[in-house]
């Protein structure tokens, strides 16, 4: 999004807010019943020893768990990455940066990384649009709305292992899907190798991923839409605004924090993508164009008993994901339209 369009939507939104304020006043000053923003029971001033003790006690357990199960493994992986190590005993064969060099020279790794890029690109390009459209639809008062919501959310609730096994059985050669297509006389579809053909398998994967995750994003967007004050739409309607114009000028701008979160989740999810590929393709992921860095780590690292090598690959994945996350935080999450309706905290 360019700066100018940013500005444009920003002004549009604040115009809408101005309209909304007018409406609120006309409607009997609902805003006045709101409690004052500063509470009188604020503790203020620095915390005493009791406070400190309390903080330590309450954050302690979480901190210990976080350090021992998140920070420590990351540090250990970085350390293992410098060794040739089969996983028995303590690593002792120090080989410097060799593991990293070998990984970055490995075509399989680069292919896996590019597949992550593919997942990310296709997810960003399709899932947001689909989810947004469905959310808009489900945000209206239509028949069977709650049933449809449940159905759409269901795939997200099912464990990825079960989803993978199920789709595998459906899509495998001579599986249910082939048989149905055969029965319908669609020979071409019946004899397509949905999982085994290098040109098709990545799209099969994206279809399943979208099916599985789009429900979650729809709920996410729906929740975001619920947070947009009804008054804005009423005011816009009074001004003779069309439905689509309202979505464009009110919903989209005010949904931008949610959309940014969606983007963030998609990036992280795509980079760490593993379960579905592992279950559906196993070791042949690399032959069918669906391997990811995580499956690479699994097969070239732990399955090959090359734990030093695998750790080094994990460190590379960590660095890539971490960098993407930081960049996203810095350039996308923290800038753009500020929600104009959010109550402004005292400055």
């Amino acid at each position: 999004m360019s700066a100018s369009s940013d500005f444009a939507t920003g002004t549009a939104a604040s115009a809408a807010v101005a309209v909304a304020d007018e409406g609120a006043k006309a409607g009997g000053g609902r805003g006045q019943t709101r409690p004052p923003s500063r509470t009188s029971r604020s503790r203020g001033r620095g915390i005493g020893w009791r406070g400190r003790f309390e903080v330590a006690l309450l954050t302690g357990p979480a901190l210990i768990i976080f350090i021992s199960f998140v920070i420590l493994p990351v540090v250990l992986a970085a350390w293992f990455g410098f060794y040739r190590w089969k996983g028995y005993g303590m690593p002792s064969d120090f080989i410097g940066l060799d593991n990293y060099r070998w990984i970055l020279e490995d075509k399989k790794f680069l292919a896996a990384l590019s597949h992550n890029g593919f997942v990310l690109g296709v997810s960003l390009a399709t899932q947001g649009v689909v989810a947004l459209g469905m959310a808009l639809l489900l945000n209206r008062k239509i028949r069977f709305r709650s049933v449809i919501r449940v159905l759409i959310f269901a795939p997200y609730v099912i464990s990825e292992a079960i989803v993978g096994t199920g789709w595998r059985l459906l899509m495998q050669p001579n599986g249910a899907f082939s048989n149905i297509m055969d029965a319908l006389g669609l020979d071409g579809l019946a004899h397509t190798w949905w999982l085994g053909d290098k040109a098709i398998a990545p799209w099969t994967m994206m279809m399943i991923v979208t099916w599985k995750y789009v429900g979650f994003y729809i709920i996410l967007f729906l929740a975001g839409m619920q947070g947009i004050p009804e008054e804005l739409y009423e005011a816009a309607a009074i001004d003779g605004c069309s439905y689509w114009r309202m979505q464009l000028k009110i919903t989209l701008p005010l949904l931008s924090p949610t959309i940014k979160i969606w983007g963030f989740l998609t990036i992280i999810g795509s980079m760490q993508f593993f379960d579905l590929v592992y279950i559906m393709w196993g070791p042949t992921a690399e032959h069918t164009g669906v391997s990811t860095v995580a499956t690479y780590i699994r097969y070239e690292g732990s399955e090959a008993n090359a734990y030093g090598y695998g750790s080094a690959a994990a460190v590379i994945l960590f660095i890539i994901t971490f960098t993407l996350a930081i960049l996203y935080q810095k350039f996308i999450m923290n800038r753009g339209v500020e929600n104009p309706v959010a109550p402004r905290r005292g400055r």
């Binding site: 028995y88 999982l195 090959a304």
Partner: protein, 437 residues
């Protein structure tokens, strides 16, 4: 006291309780280590043997349980806790457990390279002195469990891999004799195709079934000496590897596999390659001694497949291998270095006559030749005979070469068969894999 303060105190209490609970749990862990030194137990002392194995389905699972039950009855001071773990999971968990404090006392063992790594790390008990009689009785199959002239485990089942086939489909295609040479084998493939039968089932998705074909070609082209030297040095300079890789490409050119073999799994469900064989949709599958039981579990009625037969992997002209060389493997058990002595006693009982007879009757080829007579199905009897004629049983090459090269061999085999790799690239990938592990 205000409500706010009251809840804060409760929260403090709760947090404290949680923290202490956590500490207590941590404390408990130190004592619970399975592999710890309950050793040199006097006869009366209570000992527990935690046993991890990969037999998660019946009848094998019940036979193992019954064997343990009988041993516990005879030795009231021993408690055997059995933990059957699915095969692929077991390999991961075992590695982690051996490194940590929760190691099992007795565990699944396949011998060779992987076992040697475990021995070098000091995890496996030397049972040479206690098991001379058993080693004698089992014979050649115990070889992979011997390292530096010491015995570190005993196999309970094993044998040569071979081609399992459906006699009915062979009859249908007018094939009267099983092929002895590669040329005859190619003829069989062509006859089957002419009769509209898919010749070979291939579980490409799991990679190792494809790997098995490549191992067989390597055994035929390279011979045991080259394999032995590369097992030790991981150099892969002999040109026979190129021949073996080329053989994979030539095999694929015959198009003998089921449609979409790359996404067919080996053993899961009726659509797997074993399932296809069980249901008469493919004529042959190259597999190990578990195949008979596997096929049985996938027939519509769960009964043994009546027309299942076995023949040895065909001879290849111009290869350096001896006719008696065969690919195969065994399943065995080891005791952890810190396990109680009773573990060895139980291991000896487990590979003894009683359990071996039950195993032969209901599951597969026993490691002890005296129990072979109890085998129930035609294909197993033929496989046992074939195993008997084997002069050298080469353990699965992914195990022999070690996991790192083994992994490259398996995925390389798939690439070769799918036309994504040249023989030169394949050999290069073995060398690349060798340096990282």
């Amino acid at each position: 006291m205000s409500i706010v303060k009251k809840t804060r105190c409760l929260a403090l209490l709760a947090a404290g309780a949680l923290a202490m609970g956590g500490l207590a749990a941590c404390g408990g862990d130190d004592k619970g280590g399975g592999g710890d030194s309950t050793g040199d137990a006097g006869s009366g002392e209570q000992v527990e043997i935690v046993w991890w194995h990969n037999v998660t389905t019946d009848p094998g699972k019940s036979i193992f349980q019954a064997s343990a039950d009988r041993f516990m009855e005879a030795n009231p001071n021993v408690k055997i806790t059995i933990v059957p773990i699915q095969n692929e999971d077991l390999q991961d968990k075992l590695q982690t457990a051996l490194n940590g404090k929760d190691a099992p006392d007795m565990f699944q063992q396949w011998g060779a390279g992987e076992m040697q790594e475990q021995v070098d790390a000091g995890y496996v008990m030397d049972i040479t002195a206690e098991t001379t009689a058993e080693v004698e009785a089992i014979g050649g199959m115990v070889a992979p469990y011997i390292y530096n002239d010491k015995v570190y485990g005993l196999p309970y089942t094993g044998g040569a891999a071979g081609i399992y086939y459906s006699q009915d489909l062979f009859d249908q295609a007018g094939i009267t004799e099983t092929p002895k040479t590669w040329a005859e084998f190619v003829e069989v493939i062509e006859k089957l195709k002419a009769a509209g039968i898919v010749p070979i089932g291939m579980g490409g998705k799991d990679a190792w079934p494809v790997g098995h074909w490549l191992y067989a070609f390597i055994i035929r082209y390279c011979g045991i000496d080259v394999i032995d030297s590369d097992t030790a040095n991981k150099e892969f300079t002999d040109s026979c590897y190129l021949d073996a890789a080329q053989a994979m490409i030539d095999l694929a050119a015959l198009e003998p596999f089921e449609d979409g073999w790359l996404s067919v799994s080996a053993q899961q469900g009726a659509g797997s390659s074993s399932g296809l064989l069980a249901n008469g949709l493919v004529a042959m599958e190259y597999s190990g001694v578990w195949e008979t039981g596997q096929v049985q579990s996938l027939t519509p009625d769960g009964e043994p497949k009546a027309d299942l037969r076995w023949f040895a992997f065909p001879q290849i002209e111009g290869g350096k291998g001896e006719p008696g060389d065969a690919l195969g493997g065994s399943d065995g058990m080891s005791c952890h270095a810190n396990a109680p002595k009773e573990c060895v006693e139980f291991l000896k009982y487990f590979v003894g006559d009683e359990t071996q007879k039950e195993f032969a009757e209901q599951v597969s080829i026993p490691s002890n030749p005296t129990a072979v007579q109890y085998l129930a199905t035609e294909s197993l009897k033929e496989a046992a005979t074939g195993t008997g004629e084997t002069t050298y049983l080469q353990i699965w090459l992914d195990k022999a070469f070690g996991d790192s090269v083994g992994e490259a061999t398996n995925t390389g085999a798939v690439s070769l068969l799918d036309g994504q790799m040249t023989p030169e690239q394949f050999v290069e990938s073995l060398k690349t894999a060798a340096r990282k592990g």
